[in-house]
């Protein structure tokens, strides 16, 4: 199973409406992605909390149908 980049972006934006999301398909197999997420919601949060917020947005798909999503998060 794999996930389309557009679905990943949509789910992140549903949870973080102001987010700027950039997704790259690393291997071209729809299973290994890198995402950069910029949202003011991350302000004052540790990296762990920022990533947990993105994982929560993906509602359990991370680590399941989505094997690999290299994440870079930033508040601005």
């Amino acid at each position: 199973m794999a996930m389309a980049a557009a679905d990943i972006e949509r789910m992140i934006k549903e949870a973080l409406p102001d987010a700027k999301v950039e997704i790259r398909d690393l291997a071209g197999d729809g299973d290994h992605y890198a995402a950069t997420v910029i949202s003011s919601a991350f302000k004052g949060m540790s990296k762990v909390k920022q990533h947990q917020l993105v994982y929560a947005a993906l509602k359990g798909n991370m680590g399941g149908v989505l094997h690999a999503l290299a994440l870079t998060t930033s508040a601005e």
Partner: protein
């Protein structure tokens, strides 16, 4: 607290640096796990590694413990530091070496 939760809790609190990974430091079974092994070896930090592929309870338990969906996971002095992305960022910025130093973890100088 379930048995596996108690086991994890005890492991991360009684060892300075603990890595939960797929495979072993000698034979990582996943590129992300392998990257953290390389980083820890490079900074010269001693660590205890657990291979989650040998234990299905641990593989699920560690995800629940940290509320973190993926493996590898790195802990320093009982605190969840992050997965591969965060550890790599911290390594590149020098923050990882600082965190180890702040927690009194002696590192071997890379030869």
């Amino acid at each position: 607290m379930t048995d596996i939760n108690a086991f994890i809790d005890n492991e991360v609190k009684s060892n300075d640096v603990v890595l939960f990974m797929k495979g072993t430091p000698q034979f990582p079974m996943c590129g992300f796990s392998g990257q953290i092994v390389q980083i820890l070896d490079y900074v010269g930090a001693p660590y205890k590694a657990h291979n989650v592929l040998e234990n299905a309870d641990l593989r699920q338990g560690i995800k629940d413990y940290a509320n973190w969906p993926t493996i590898p996971q790195l802990y320093i002095k009982g605190e969840f530091i992050g997965g591969c992305d965060i550890v790599r960022e911290m390594f590149q910025s020098g923050e990882l070496a600082q965190t180890l130093a702040d927690n009194g973890v002696a590192v071997k100088k890379a030869g």
